[in-house]
């Protein structure tokens, strides 16, 4: 497994961390460069399965605005972000829609639903 360079996002220091598996132990990581212990969990997640929340809009008809803001209820794997955006772009709704309404369930087989982030 390779070494990954990453910036810790937990505070404004933005420590540059080098993360790689400990020799001989694939499940344990060596994290270097951090100035405190806070970022270690982040480094594990970011190394093994980086995820992102996707926020965008979908086309909505018969509503006061032409676009409805939406988000993935949970973060999705970072590698799926563009595929999720394609899913989002294919949605067309008709208003009214209530905030929190699930627009698409389990996006691309993940456990994240696409939900409306406002009423419109």
């Amino acid at each position: 497994m390779e070494t990954k360079e990453m910036i810790c996002i937990l505070c404004p220091l933005g420590c540059k961390m080098q993360v790689r598996p400990k020799p001989g132990k694939t499940s344990e990581l060596s994290v270097r460069g951090q100035k405190c212990g806070l970022g270690i969990d982040y480094a594990y997640d970011e190394y093994t399965n980086p995820t992102r929340t996707v926020t965008s809009t979908v086309v909505i008809h018969n509503a006061p605005l032409p676009r409805l803001p939406v988000k993935t209820e949970k973060p999705v794997p970072r590698d799926l972000v563009f595929a999720v955006l394609d899913e989002i772009a294919a949605v067309e709704l008709t208003g009214p829609v209530k905030i929190g309404t699930v627009i698409k369930k389990e996006l691309l087989g993940t456990d994240a639903n696409l939900v409306a982030t406002r009423s419109l």
């Binding site: 910036i7 220091l13 405190c36 965008s56 809009t57 032409p66 067309e92 905030i99 982030t117 406002r118």
Partner: protein, 935 residues
């Protein structure tokens, strides 16, 4: 077949057309651009000179003097503003005093009324603030200022009203002389006319040479200008000129008819007739020269910079007359200064030439001398405003908040005879976009209105000429089968779960909150919590929520709700609570002024214009973005330049992309978030450019918006030039030095079609100023105490109007305090009215020490503290491993270890009542003490 074709719809062409329209002639006015007043007329000093400058015997002298005499009537008929402010030509040496004497003699020989040589003392009395070495001046009371766009548009409309055909977007590409007739090639159509008036400005030589051998050349001379915010006009009582030189009248300082200060122009001969870009060197020269007249000019209030080209010839005089080679072809060329002043007289003279040629046709039996009223809504008196709204409720809907321009005026500008069809056309006619936000807030709405009225889609609306598109395509258009799903039909009507709109028209209210964004909503809820029943929230948008509605990304609410929300989700939680509490709101309502005694004047389309008296007021108007104009980034002014928040509004709320190859200037959070948004909507971000050595936004946004998508972030770089005539075509960037200034020799080009400016936010305090509230220089917002009360009793403020916050959570927190404070105030006043005496206790002030830029609140009354208070602060510079020390009159009362402090992240320090000494003290000082690990 026309009797006469006039080429060029600037001030000269339109004035000639209107003058000729008094006669029985068939006329056409041809303009190559999308609108009238689009060349030299668009960008000049707007001065009506008194007329003493030009040499005797010149056309310039003749027409300037005559023009100046008839300007009042000219503008009165057309209902265009004209003010005889008077001018001063100022001498700074004995030698220059001699020049003034000569000008005085020359002017007197032209019988210019009221000329006077002022000696030092009188000069400094009439125009305070001049530099000390100003030793005298030539005073010309008849000099004045007008609005060249409004005048030209009024002339064009009046010409149209009197039968002149006006074709825009219609360049003349060839002229053929066929016997007595000229055949003009106009965009494939042929226009035949007996006489041609060549008023083509910068291109008059080209037009002349279509039928004649070359007899003059136009050598464009560029002049650059600064335009300052409204209210700065008080810096110049008169039009202030230096002593003229061989090169011209020099850099002037003047107040426009709209109350802005204008400073410029320099004079630089350029090769291109399109070279209307600004340059760093030119602007620096203008500033330097202006400061020779007055040192203390408020250049921090610049709202835009621009440049214009004068149509100079080598002749030194206007070239006006029939061509020797081509009978019936009349040149009106080389109309440089004093062209605007001379326009009415030139028009008469040229009209007479044509009339004589045409065998003196009769005057029309009916000529309508007056144009339709162009008076702006804001300039009407209250009764007139009410009448207008009663007739047409669109005049109750303010679209442009900086200049208070209503939808009614925008629609009128579109519907008028030579109506606006472009964003710039609206700006010229009614000024939205001409104010301090430079169209950042109103641009998207103006485009919607234009599209609706003209029956087209928003991407079809141009800034100015063809090619100056503003929006590219609807978002999601690939999936939405190419249809324009972003069309505006109905998009301005119904709303979501807003509290019921207030139908009451009370004359008084216990608490009025101005602004229904996160600050205003939190303040309203807090005041209700403390028992205030009679609350009114006034919001200018059609729904509550403020800027949060367009911030569709997540990251909000971690402190308030312990969960991560998007902007609209955060807003909706508060909107729902306002609804539950039945707090009254007036939406789509603009507050025009707040007085010191808390009288609030507002306007909307339901109530019209009303004034309401408030027991207490909370100011929660938020902030606006710093614009390209106020930063003064040099270059052209094409379409495709947006502030990041404006782009966010287009993309997230209106559903339109703003460009395909985007550069973001500034690395603040809005810029980073918008960079990712552009990528997510299928655009490309070429680079993020940051002048400082570090990214200004949150680390998380750097990682998730920039690094994730491999967007180059060019630290220690700046934009030194913007290129592109109609749409942005590219930029020149350069490295910056330690002072964030460009380093010569490091320039390189970058291709792009869009620039998003993310260069910081400015608290929006125009209403606060109208209420006499003291503003703090470090924050740009009101000075407040621990209850968020300003220096004006009973007027409170909270949120970004006080200082710019990085997290909405802090806005909410701070606004609760304002709500509680206002509630306490109202109750205290009631008690005092009942005869109760309340001891106010002592007041101490807060003081930012070493490493701290500012502290809010600025004052604290310990007796009024609600158990504890938060100090909101920003660090000056980046610090690691420091102690934040809080001292009461030098006694250390609290110390906090800080791993890292950066200017981008607000510091919040909680002070408990028991932290403070019990005895009276004067000052709470906060400073950074360096620890061991310091850099």
């Amino acid at each position: 077949m026309y009797d006469a074709a006039i080429i060029g719809a600037g001030i000269i062409g339109t004035a000639v057309a209107r003058e000729l329209a008094k006669y029985n002639l068939n006329l056409i006015l041809l303009e190559k651009d999308s609108d009238v007043a689009n060349g030299t007329t668009k960008a000049n000093s707007a001065i009506i000179h008194a007329g003493f400058d030009p040499k005797p015997g010149t056309f310039k002298a003749k027409f300037n003097v005559e023009g100046s005499r008839i300007y009042d009537q000219f503008c009165r008929e057309l209902d265009v503003p004209f003010k005889r402010t008077g001018s001063l030509v100022i001498a700074f040496s004995d030698e220059e005093m001699e020049t003034l004497d000569e000008l005085f003699k020359q002017g007197s020989s032209y019988e210019i009324p009221g000329l006077e040589i002022l000696r030092r003392e009188k000069l400094h009395r009439m125009e305070p603030g001049l530099n000390e070495d100003a030793c005298g001046a030539l005073y010309a009371p008849t000099a004045g200022v007008t609005d060249p766009y409004l005048l030209t548009i009024a002339l064009a409309e009046n010409a149209a009203l009197n039968g002149v055909a006006i074709w825009r977007d219609c360049p003349v590409t060839g002229i053929e002389k066929a016997g007595d007739i000229y055949k003009l090639d106009c965009n494939g159509e042929t226009v035949a006319a007996r006489y041609v008036v060549n008023a083509a400005g910068l291109y008059a030589d080209h037009i002349n040479e279509m039928v004649n051998p070359p007899s003059f050349k136009i050598k464009p001379t560029r002049g650059e200008y600064f335009l300052l915010d409204k209210g700065t006009g008080s810096y110049a009582n008169y039009v202030l000129f230096p002593c003229p030189t061989r090169l011209g009248k020099g850099v002037l300082v003047s107040t426009t008819v709209h109350g802005n200060l204008i400073v410029g122009p320099n004079a630089e001969t350029v090769d291109s007739k399109e070279a209307t870009e600004t340059t760093a060197a030119g602007l620096a020269e203008v500033r330097k020269n202006a400061e020779k007249i007055k040192k203390a000019l408020p250049f921090d209030k610049v709202i835009t910079t621009f440049s214009g080209l004068r149509a100079k010839t080598g002749a030194g005089d206007f070239i006006i007359g029939e061509s020797q080679h081509s009978p019936g072809f009349i040149n009106v060329a080389g109309i440089e200064s004093p062209g605007l002043a001379s326009a009415p007289a030139i028009a008469r003279y040229v009209a007479e030439l044509v009339i004589d040629k045409a065998g003196k046709p009769a005057k029309k039996s009916i000529f309508y001398p007056a144009a339709k009223s162009h008076k702006l809504f804001i300039d009407l008196d209250n009764r007139e405003k009410e009448e207008l709204i009663n007739k047409d409720d669109r005049f109750g809907r303010v679209v442009c908040r900086c200049e208070s321009i209503t939808e009614g005026e925008i629609v009128r500008a579109i519907e008028s005879p030579v109506g606006a069809r472009t964003l710039d056309g609206i700006k010229k006619r009614t000024r939205p976009g001409g104010g301090r936000c430079q169209g950042g807030f109103c641009g998207p709405r103006v485009i919607q209105i234009l599209a609706r009225e003209l029956g087209v889609t928003p991407p079809e609306i141009k800034k100015n000429n063809p090619g100056s598109y503003i929006l590219t395509e609807p978002t999601k258009s690939k999936m939405a089968k190419g249809q324009d799903t972003g069309s505006t039909a109905g998009s301005e009507t119904a709303q979501k779960s807003n509290p019921p709109e207030d139908e009451k028209k009370d004359d008084s209210c216990n608490l009025v909150i101005i602004g229904g964004g996160p600050a205003g909503m939190a303040a309203a809820l807090a005041a209700r919590e403390r028992g205030i029943e009679d609350i009114l929230v006034i919001e200018r948008a059609k729904e509550l929520g403020g800027i949060l509605e367009q911030c569709i990304h997540n990251g909000f609410g971690l402190h308030q709700f312990k969960e991560e929300l998007t902007g609209p989700e955060y807003a909706e939680r508060f909107i729902d609570r306002l609804k539950e509490e039945n707090i009254r709101c007036k939406l789509d309502t603009m507050v025009l002024s707040v007085s010191e005694d808390r009288k609030i004047t507002y306007v909307n389309s339901k109530d019209g214009l009303r004034t309401i008296e408030a027991g207490a007021v909370i100011l929660a108007m938020g902030c606006r973005e710093r614009t390209r104009g106020s930063i003064g980034t040099p270059g052209t002014r094409p379409a495709g330049i947006f502030s990041a928040g404006t782009a966010q509004q287009f993309v997230n709320l209106q559903g339109y992309m703003v460009g395909k190859k985007v550069v973001v200037f500034g690395s603040g959070d809005i810029g980073l978030i918008m960079a990712r948004r552009i990528v997510w909507e299928g655009g490309r971000v070429e680079a993020i450019i940051e002048r400082k050595p570090y990214s200004e936004g949150l680390v998380r946004n750097y990682v998730q918006c920039v690094e994730d998508y491999g967007i180059p972030m060019l630290l220690e770089h700046t934009i030194v030039d913007i290129k592109g005539k109609e749409r942005v075509e590219g930029i020149t960037i350069a490295k910056t030095d330690a002072n964030k200034q460009p380093v010569a020799g490091t320039e390189r080009e970058l291709e792009c079609d869009t620039i998003l400016f993310s260069r910081g936010l400015i608290p929006e305090n125009e209403l606060s100023k109208s209420a006499g509230v003291t503003l703090h220089p470090a924050t740009g917002g009101p000075v407040v105490n621990e209850a968020m009360e300003t220096e004006v009793e009973g007027i409170f403020a909270c949120g970004n109007v006080v200082h710019v916050h990085d997290l909405v959570d802090w806005v909410t927190e701070e606004s609760y305090k304002a709500g509680w404070g206002a509630a306490e105030y109202i109750k205290r006043k009631e008690k005092e009215a009942a005869g109760e005496k309340i001891d106010p206790g002592f007041i101490c002030s807060t003081k930012p020490g070493e490493g701290i830029k500012y502290i809010v609140p600025h004052k604290i009354r310990p007796a009024h503290m609600d158990g504890s208070i938060e100090l909101y602060m920003r660090a000056e510079g980046h610090h690691e491993g420091v102690d934040l020390q809080i001292k009461a009159d030098k006694q250390l009362i609290k110390s906090m270890k800080k791993k890292v402090l950066s200017p981008g992240e607000m510091i919040v320090a909680k002070l408990k009542k028991e932290d403070l000494p019990e005895e009276g003290f004067n000052e709470i000082l906060v400073e950074l003490e360096k620890g061991e690990r310091n850099q």
